[in-house]
Symmetry: none
Subunit: 249 residues, 2 copies
Amino acid sequence: MLKEERQNIILEEIVNNNKVHSNTLSKKLNVSEDTIRRDLKELSEIGHIKKVHGGAMANPTVPAAIISQKISDQKEHLIIAQKALSSLVDHKVIIMEGDESNLILASILPPDFSATIFTNSLKVATRLFEFPNIETFMLGGKISHRSPITSGLEVMDALADIHADICLLEATSLHVDIGLTDGDRERAQIKKKIINHSSNVIAMCLSRRTGSIKPFKVEGLEKITSLITELNEDDAQLSSFINKGIRIV
Amino acid sequence: MLKEERQNIILEEIVNNNKVHSNTLSKKLNVSEDTIRRDLKELSEIGHIKKVHGGAMANPTVPAAIISQKISDQKEHLIIAQKALSSLVDHKVIIMEGDESNLILASILPPDFSATIFTNSLKVATRLFEFPNIETFMLGGKISHRSPITSGLEVMDALADIHADICLLEATSLHVDIGLTDGDRERAQIKKKIINHSSNVIAMCLSRRTGSIKPFKVEGLEKITSLITELNEDDAQLSSFINKGIRIV
DNA sequence: GTTTTAATTGCCGTTTAGTGCATATTTATA
DNA sequence: TATAAATATGCACTAAACGGCAATTAAAAC
């Protein structure tokens, strides 16, 4: 059995029973307790479950749907989120757009992290609620039927009055020549506005999404300060971005 | 059983009964009283409960996040939510304020329910996201550290442009003479504004919260169209409200 | 298809966490 | 104040966690 398969089973069990025991899992999956322990450690690093003595439990604030997402996707976002975290400093104004890498990022922030954070994601906002030193602002608006994210005029209006030190964008498409594009018109507009109201622009993009082009233009590459993918900085796939002067993290 | 699991059970029991005894817990959970005592010590160090001789009691300053998990109240909220549901009709504009009964209500809506719903609760909005025929609008703003609810100027501004057919308010205090009051100033203002932007005002209130008065006035009883509690309409406790002309559901 | 490389896993010795028990001390209250 | 119950403390035992290492297995490169 593959590790990934096993970890998905573990997540499934946590969603169903709210908890797992290392020793029973070990027997059930025919691996040593050490392996289970390593699995639980990895899974808990993503932030949706909590490792405890003897097993693991679901994080009470995380909905089942999030926990049971395929582990392979979560891991890629975790790598991105970890890099993003190292780019953040305390006491700044941050805009977090979207709910993929940003959700994981919100899960791995140090408990005493201090900042003012704006977000259009219900999931991210719910997560940030737990942090006593973070001032969270939900950007209000109509909730899309595609993902639990606000968009529309209200978000645009709210952004008009904001300036952030740094914004963290989920890039669904990033092309070396065309720049940042999006499949949703409203979301493209929102991203554009966020970029123009932030001193630093960090695009978080899965490597398989680089190179693609979506119908709605956000901004050209020159507006992007840094690009974070799950790849190493020196990966050949990213050299064209480096040539354009983008900082790779 | 995992330690955390056991402590969750203890917390739950304290939240429900306001107190626990070490010796009964010891029998119930099949561990020594020493272990229970250590659990209570740990929980009290975190600050959620207060250790007393012979057991522990609920801490008066328990964070809202924990209170909201009250199991016993869930039943009462369900009764309220069911009544509220019967008051709703399709294709209306609804404001749902707060996340107790409204969250349950959002969970029991028929899957094809059609409406435009505004809410200041992250939980409610997240739940409503699942409904294909509901247009959900999240009222943006600063997220309170007490519960995952937006408040502040942005909410007020957003409300200014809205008129609803019906609003569903979580009433934390409802007094026959004083009317609706709230313990939080901003939230009181928001409720007031919601009331004045709705054709029908439904107050959802646990019976034990009727009669109490909180520091910040929302509106007098005359602004309330209907009152929903978990009690029967003809319960004696509610007669004083009937005398004031409130419709009891 | 084979070789090379990297990831995964199990094992082992050591360390730590959790639990129960014995005993001394404190607390509630009759 | 007497007395029974509850608590604190120290100790011992067990199960789990940790870190390093070697063997195995999967993935990548050739």
